[in-house]
Symmetry: D2
Subunit: 351 residues, 4 copies
């Protein structure tokens, strides 16, 4: 940590700051420049991080030197984390695709879509039973009934289930049904929820908040890791910008930035990220080319009747096409797109 | 709702959309322009809102005509809502100030600050017992112990308590202690939490999310109002922008925009909004000049020892000065700054 | 300047960086922490600023300690700069209001509006003869013909003229007519233009770019100051954010932030900043309460016929009302709103 | 164009708006809904676009139906524009790479880098002789001397020259040296400059402004197209967001969005877009996977001595590696990366 003092800070002022640092069991190294005095703090930076040193009179600003996350960092763990979900893997040599409807709307709808995405090559089925909706008048999900349909689909198609949890009171119940607990963008900093979800030990798919930095996302992952759960899949799903031609702006640079800073797998959700069906496949290709470990997309057999987010869902035929395109890019990257074999065992596709 | 069709949509395509609208019990009015065909939807727009019409082939985009919130709108209730908190009011002719530490750190700390803000003219005491912190290594709050200190302060100084709730499982407990339940920016779209908080019937202080639009904030208020609880205080606390000289950018225009669109009271939190102590008073003055119904600020008797957000807290003397400045602006606006009398009954200050 | 090295940098790597710093005539102070080695650079920071030290192998990041502007800073000049424009002043004890149409559309239009704003209390007339418009099909201004009308209005109403220059080739000509050269938001970083405008010695009204930070604005001011022209008026006019209910988001905190960092006067343009007529007066009040030295607004006698930006223009009666409101807030702040007397000499209004 | 009236607008108010539309030679179609009256405008929308209808009393908002650009749109020209630059092409079946230093610093530097990028497979040489720099104290470019070095390099290596023009007064001179005139992000809305540059008939490389939407970029392209110059190459180079881990956020979705909306070629500049050397190749791959027609990158043989933007420049070896990676992705997309043959004639590489 580096502490920059205001111009004209007196020697007494300097010593006051130094004393405070030493009280915290750290060492201070004073560097008197022509324009400013700077104090380098030596020791365990975290001990000082929680102290608002900027509030000390004479301090102009405090610059942390280290990343504020630890367990999520590459420095802590140089090798990639591989999260296993059923027979699929996130973080290894493959590219894994999760697909399904935005919301579980009915048993028939879910079965039709699950069949399509299973055939199309998805390794996991997504579908929300609890939907966080901006409007209280919008469809809020089927709740436990929806979870039951998801469970039936797992049994029928052999696809592990990814589903969102939105309330600490539901974590235990959702965890009984789900293979992966999804934390939505709006809940990325719902620290009670992510802590509780982390405690289940289940893989957590953690979506980046719409206004969260890459660093914020890793801090939220850190909450889960500190619960002893290292099965965290990070998901870039678009951030808020002034651009109004897309629902959000997918931050593709977050993929390599996260891969460099952390050992956790990174997937991309181009459906929510763009909100426009015609942009999903190009962004899925770009994500894989930038090094993503997977893709999550919305598929609906009849988007215009979808109760939620119809315009950003792919038709089953679009999905199959996207899978082909993603496969070609993955292979160019020296990777393979993971596929579920008909027998139920996963194997690696080659086109 | 207005539906714009893609160029060169066939007559059959047009009729398909019209048929769909009529199936929903609404009427459609087709307008054939030189460049585009447009369909105006007549009837209850909400019936169609949940249908993703943009997913129908041939539809280019769908433009809602009405605001998506109802009970929160001025059209629904033209007169101002006045939320009563103890003897204080938010939304009437006065300007009410809430003050206190970011977090409750100890009994002594809270009593010292409560006394200072009580003397300084605050009408309610804020202080977090549950703190949503970006880092799992940061101080997370004292929990119920902190709530007890807050309760003691209410008894001692006659100040109603504003405190944050972050977990649906805690809502009932926090509501036993608090006069106002605060929903933090990170939880503005934690719909389970706001619904549960709304159900208590207690006044809710709803902070705008860092990346939420004015419309999003009103949609979250709508969640609370639909629970039969109209005691909602909206709070502008800064939004995320590219500007890096302040923690966030306080959107002062949101104050008149919210006051025009809604009947709910609006307060401003310049502490979180700027993150810089020297900008708090200017922003508090600006907020009142723009029509805010109140101000919420952080006060700490020793900011450099604060366990949370020290640099943005005012010293008790700064607070007194800010109160004087806010009082002058309020009076210029023909308003008064509400004060708690020594006897415990609220009256109106005149300088 | 502080240089943070990557973890595990060898002693040789450290010495390489130190050598490079010494070659530049500066001194280096090495601080070896547990996690990172940090090098403080002592001497004239500017000498090193233009060197991309971040490109040296082993360097993780470089943190400048000082603000990159000098002549624009309060450290360079502690007392306020007062810019004189005709008989008006920007930066002194008063609040000065500039008003007029967005664009000069015709002689009649300009005279009608000039008369109204003169009566209403503006101390300068704004009006664009050259309009930077997003669309090539929009009205681009009357050019020199418009400048002539502005000149006539100055003679008739005694109001100094503020008008925009958009092309280096026009600077000399526009300077012959104008009392203040306006640099629009889109040209804030058109460094050729601001340098050329600065060279005229005329007062420059420099608008903040839509995506410029406070620091960027001061850097652009620095360009003008280094031309020997200290007559710079800074103008906050709204920044781009994700909020879509207003045209831009007026950053009111930029006013005190600029006033603390710089000696230059700061005014606010709530017309462009909000794009909504009903928000102009509240934002003008807020700006003055936050410490602005002036306000610039658009006034049009018939906004619906305005060739440019009609929805954000005030009617003359709205303008008079806004002036009353601004006067009340200014007086509460211990300031006065400057007025032009009928005799043509400026005096100070008292309500 | 669709005009939504305020609630409770009287019949007289409706007729006033209709009258105004008919005065403009257009037809109006009134649609009276339960909540709002809506007026559809039939005819040439552009005629009405310049009229601020929102300023008419009773009008709540005006929604344009058509894109505001014409000549830049796919509707206007369905087939791709191919811009020829020397023997290279932008917009056809290939992927073309422009490379070179940020700034021309010296004859030796430019020759060394030109040789490297020529060998590495670039089809054009970039290098700034006029540099728009945030600080007046930063290196501003060598001016015409730099243009001469660029010209020499073209003769020596057969590479066409891409160089920035920043001042209308220099357009003619720069056009004498350059094969492509670059308009920088800060000048995207410097309409005088882009008009003047457009008039030369030379290919224009138009960079997206840091806070410009996709629509804004196409509007600026429209300025050039209306000068009779259709040789416009659009360049995505990152937009401003709150994310602080990268210099800007490259908006990869802008590539397919621009390709769908317009016939103009689109390239991506991952150097400025990320500001981090290690993110350049992943973003270049992503850009090509998303459908970009080319890439522009900064290459420097000694980034730590670069006078401008060193940290974001590739070393010649990094560049060669990036070219290999881009080639692989291009081939996966069924495209080829254009290469300059040693004889000076362009041919298509196959790896």
């Amino acid at each position: 940590m580096i502490i920059v003092l205001k111009p004209n800070t007196t020697e007494e002022g300097i010593q006051r700051v130094v004393k405070r640092i030493k009280e915290l069991g750290l060492d201070a190294m004073v560097s008197r420049g022509m324009m400013r005095t700077i104090i380098g703090v030596i020791g365990e930076e975290d001990r000082i991080r929680i102290q608002p040193l900027e509030a000390i009179p004479g301090v102009e600003h405090v610059m942390p030197v280290l990343a504020p996350y630890k367990m999520a960092s590459r420095e802590f763990q140089p090798e990639d984390t591989v999260v296993r979900v059923g027979q699929a893997e996130f973080g290894g040599a493959g590219v894994s695709v999760i697909a399904g409807p935005c919301a579980v709307e009915s048993r028939d709808q879910l079965f039709a879509i699950a069949e399509a995405v299973s055939k199309g090559g998805a390794v996991a089925l997504r579908g929300g039973a609890f939907k966080p909706r901006t409007s209280p008048y919008s469809f809020q999900g089927l709740g436990e009934e929806g979870l039951n349909y998801l469970k039936e689909c797992r049994e029928r198609f052999g696809l592990p289930i990814v589903t969102e949890v939105v309330d600490t009171r539901h974590v235990e119940m959702v965890a009984r049904y789900a293979d992966v607990l999804q934390i939505g963008a709006r809940n990325m900093q719902n620290f009670s929820l992510i802590t509780e979800a982390g405690r289940t030990g289940k893989p957590i798919l953690l979506k980046r908040g719409m206004s969260a930095t890459v660093k914020d996302l890793l801090m939220s992952a850190e909450y889960i890791l500190t619960q002893g759960n290292s099965n965290v899949i990070l998901c870039e799903r678009g951030i808020k910008t002034f651009e109004d031609g897309t629902r959000n702006t997918v931050d593709i640079s977050a993929i390599p930035a996260l891969r460099l800073a952390s050992h956790l797998p990174v997937i991309v959700d181009p459906s929510h990220g763009t909100g426009r069906r015609e942009l999903i496949a190009p962004l899925a290709r770009a994500a894989v080319a930038a090094g993503a470990n997977g893709i999550m997309v919305e598929v609906h057999h009849c988007p215009e009747k979808a109760l939620c987010d119809g315009p950003q869902a792919l038709l089953p035929t679009d999905f199959a096409e996207m899978m082909d395109e993603v496969t070609i890019i993955a292979e160019a990257m020296g990777k393979t797109v993971s596929r579920m074999p008909k027998t139920g065992r996963k194997e690696t596709a080659s086109r």
